[in-house]
């Protein structure tokens, strides 16, 4: 039943149908944890793992689950996967798990995941579903990262602080202090800063899309030949 090519799936996940910028799904964790890059990356990886896993499993069982009970079934699958991710993060990145707090278990309620299961994996074969999950996760993660970087720079004047929480000892020296003696701009760290940052990102995406479509139009106009006029009044002799 797959109608989309792999390239189209990739484009959709990363840009045209980006879960965060276009579908505006999963805003709760997106806005809540993006106060720093490390939190954003942690949640992004966790969400991507769950997305790939849930798309794979849903695609596997798509022919055996009756339509009437599909939503409970999908939610069970997603919940099981989130539990796995939660236990993994407790085992390997415990400090990050503490700082992400409730938002790891809350991935269950991230509508982007159920949305992809319902809109894509339910109707497609295994391989495209995995790719779709991965690309959607990547799109989500990149938005998280950009927003996290913006908020960390404006809010604290640093970048990549505390990366060792996620990546281990090698990343402990990664912290870049961009502005010396920065007093901090609390607003960017607080939720309103996230909303405004998100709005600005969506605006930037719209600007880029507009530019692209304008360029395409200009390209087309050159190639159009002179229209033939159709006579609608009077007699043709």
């Amino acid at each position: 039943m797959s109608t989309k090519g792999y390239i189209e799936i990739t484009n959709d996940g990363l840009w045209h149908n980006n879960p965060a910028l276009v579908q505006l799904l999963g805003l709760c964790p997106l806005l809540a944890v993006t106060a720093s890059v490390v939190n954003a990356l942690g949640l992004g990886i966790a969400t991507t793992l769950v997305l790939v896993g849930s798309n794979l499993s849903v695609s596997l069982v798509r022919n055996f689950v009756p339509d009437t009970v599909r939503l409970p079934a999908f939610v069970m699958i997603i919940a099981a996967l989130v539990t796995c991710v939660e236990l993994l993060s407790q085992a390997f990145t415990y400090d990050l798990y503490l700082s992400l707090g409730i938002f790891i278990p809350l991935i269950v309620t991230n509508c982007a995941i159920l949305g992809r299961a319902e809109a894509f994996a339910r109707k497609n074969a295994i391989l495209p579903s995995i790719l779709d999950g991965f690309m959607m996760g990547l799109g989500f993660t990149s938005v998280l990262l950009i927003l996290g970087a913006m908020r960390e720079i404006i809010g604290q004047g640093t970048l990549f602080a505390d990366m060792h929480l996620l990546l281990g000892a090698i990343a402990s020296e990664w912290k870049i202090i961009l502005i010396q003696d920065y007093g901090g701009f609390l607003f960017a760290i607080l939720p309103p800063g996230a909303f405004i940052g998100m709005g600005l990102l969506i605006a930037v995406k719209s600007i880029i899309d507009n530019q692209i479509s304008l360029r395409k139009k200009a390209h087309k106009e050159i190639s159009i030949t002179v229209n033939k006029r159709v006579r609608v009044t009077g007699k043709i002799e």
């Binding site: 007093g183 701009f185 609390l186 607003f187 607080l190 309103p192 405004i196």
Partner: protein
């Protein structure tokens, strides 16, 4: 005088936006004079700087949006926003704080929503709320009024104010002169009774308290002048002040030790500035007569509630912003009946 044979509206005075905004600026003069007299040059420097920033950001955004510069700059609305911000901010804030507040107000709160007339929220209050949340330390310390500085009768000189204004970190000599506002000190009085607090706290000594009252009365005078010139109607400000007076009188009568007096509530903070210069903003407030009454009353209620039971000592900005949300809703339910038509059922 010959009768003018022109069609309605028969306006006797110029009603352009620019004219109204000029009147508003004129009406802040008594309050501004008092503020400068009691607290020194800080506010004046702030207002000039905010005005420059507002005009520059407005010009930049107008150019970006492809609008006519001359026409929109001449309605002075950016200047009024800057002026109100300058009056609301403490006189001791540094330049970057005013810069952030003003540019945020003009760019985000005003132009991203579509410019003057389309903004959902009062730009000046958005700017104020932003810096209040982001820089609580700078925003909660006011200068000590004239009567309380170390040497009696001496307020920070023009030069001192300027150096403090342009330094990134706080000037130490300024630190000595800053203290809480009357509402703030009442809020944090702890176990003291009201009488003990008034006797002990220097900010509430008769002379110092007088300066706060004079500033509020200055705003009241300006507001009454605007009312006389029919820049706005009495409904919203009076209903706000009435509700605040009633609420504070009720609780004060119940327990004068725990609740501040009506006098402190009406004259001790930004109440007068808010009632006559913020609540009356024609763009963001409710428009019908009944709607204005509800709008003002709800703001009064919120200000009292947040001041008394909330975390912030003063709450005009938050209350106004909250009610800006509700203004379209209020307008929807208070549509006046058209003459000759039946009330909707």
């Amino acid at each position: 005088m010959a009768l003018l044979r022109v069609s309605s509206p028969h306006m006797t005075q110029s009603g352009t936006t620019g004219h109204v905004m000029l009147l508003v600026m004129l009406a802040t003069l008594p309050g501004l004079t008092m503020l400068t007299y009691f607290f020194g040059w800080g506010s004046l420097i702030n207002i000039v700087w905010a005005g420059i920033v507002a005009l520059c950001t407005e010009a930049i955004i107008l150019t970006l949006r492809g609008r006519s510069l001359g026409f929109y700059l001449r309605d002075y609305s950016a200047l009024v926003t800057a002026l109100l911000l300058g009056l609301a901010l403490p006189p001791s804030v540094p330049w970057w704080l005013t810069l952030i507040a003003t540019s945020f107000a003009i760019i985000i709160a005003k132009h991203l929503y579509g410019g003057l007339g389309n903004n959902l929220f009062n730009p000046a209050m958005i700017g104020y709320a932003l810096v209040l949340i982001a820089f609580p330390l700078e925003m909660t310390s006011w200068l000590a009024p004239k009567s309380l500085t170390a040497m009696p009768g001496e307020i920070p000189s023009f030069i001192t104010s300027l150096t403090s204004f342009f330094s990134v970190t706080k000037v130490d000599s300024f630190d000595v002169m800053t203290m809480a506002t009357p509402l703030d000190s009442f809020k944090h009085k702890g176990a003291l009774t009201a009488a003990e607090l008034w006797a002990k706290e220097p900010i509430l000594s008769p002379k110092s308290w007088q300066s706060w009252q004079y500033i509020s009365l200055g705003y009241l005078m300006g507001g009454l002048y605007l009312l006389y010139r029919k820049v706005f109607t009495w409904h919203a400000p009076i209903s706000m002040l009435a509700v605040m007076a009633a609420m504070s009188a009720l609780f004060w009568w119940y327990d004068p030790n725990q609740y501040a007096s009506p006098q402190l509530h009406l004259l001790g903070g930004a109440t007068m500035l808010g009632a006559f210069f913020i609540v009356t903003d024609p763009v963001t407030s409710a428009t019908s007569v009944k709607g204005k009454l509800y709008y003002g009353a709800c703001i009064g209620l919120l200000v009292y509630a947040i001041r008394t039971w909330g975390n912030y000592p003063d709450a005009v900005a938050f209350s106004v912003l909250l009610m800006n949300f509700a203004a379209p809703f209020i307008d929807f339910y208070t549509k006046p009946r058209t003459y000759g038509h039946q009330r909707d059922k």
